[in-house]
Subunit: 140 residues, 2 copies
Amino acid sequence: MRSSYKTQGMDTSQYTPGEVAARFGLSLDTLRYYEKEGLLTEVERTPSGHRRYRPSDVELLDLVRCLRDTDMPIARLREFAELVRDGDHTVQSRLELLADHDARLTERIAQLRERQQAIRHKIDYYRGVLAARSGEEDPR
Amino acid sequence: MRSSYKTQGMDTSQYTPGEVAARFGLSLDTLRYYEKEGLLTEVERTPSGHRRYRPSDVELLDLVRCLRDTDMPIARLREFAELVRDGDHTVQSRLELLADHDARLTERIAQLRERQQAIRHKIDYYRGVLAARSGEEDPR
DNA sequence: CTTGTAGCTGGAGCGCACTCCAGGTCAACC
DNA sequence: GGTTGACCTGGAGTGCGCTCCAGCTACAAG
């Protein structure tokens, strides 16, 4: 819970590492790791060197997590973050990158559903075995 | 392509490692790895020590691949394979294991779809940016 | 008999995405 | 001034799922 307000000027909504980590369910190590890997655009620091995340950082992190949750590899996320860093003229490229990921995701979901069907057939088969077995009961 | 037929008795439908690997798109190393990890019930050998996979092996491998493709960890697959090895009285447990996996899978698919929605919103946002930009054209 | 292709073993190595750690600093409160 | 708790750094370590390799054997074709 943000409690401290800095010496001068009300804090313009920045978040401590602890807050951000909690919000996304990440460890501090992971947060730092993402930064080190270039998935976050340069995070602000307090004079003493502690990180302060601004809303734009949090927003990017939100997207990064979304993409990670859908199995985009770190390397590809880095590419994306670089495009973001490079400014407005990269919007087209970002769009392509995301559209490509979206397509992969569609494919992946379809594959998972197919496999799930197969698994359910197996489950049904086992149910059948159990049913047949309880049908014969003890043969006395 | 099975061409060789063994010295005596037509081969009762066994497959060489190469055949099986090709069929499932696995490497020989992966195939051996699965066996070493206990995901396959004891595979037959020729007198000289070469593996010969029987239809039942192939069938189990098919299920194993299906489960791996849906991200079941090796350790869990081993549990499953052990149940298979332990015989018919484990059908109930196998059923539970598969049903559990099925539930996870449903959840995972739902999560992927949610994330995909978020990604699509971002894509739409970028499309909007590009559209607006081409709308203003060069301001002459 | 030589060559070629496929397979065998045990063990090392790899890429990925974290995760942990030692040894420090900073800021606030009692 | 001492303690506490959050944060800092660089670098090592981990777990998973393969993947590679050296050095060997098997066996069918030419």
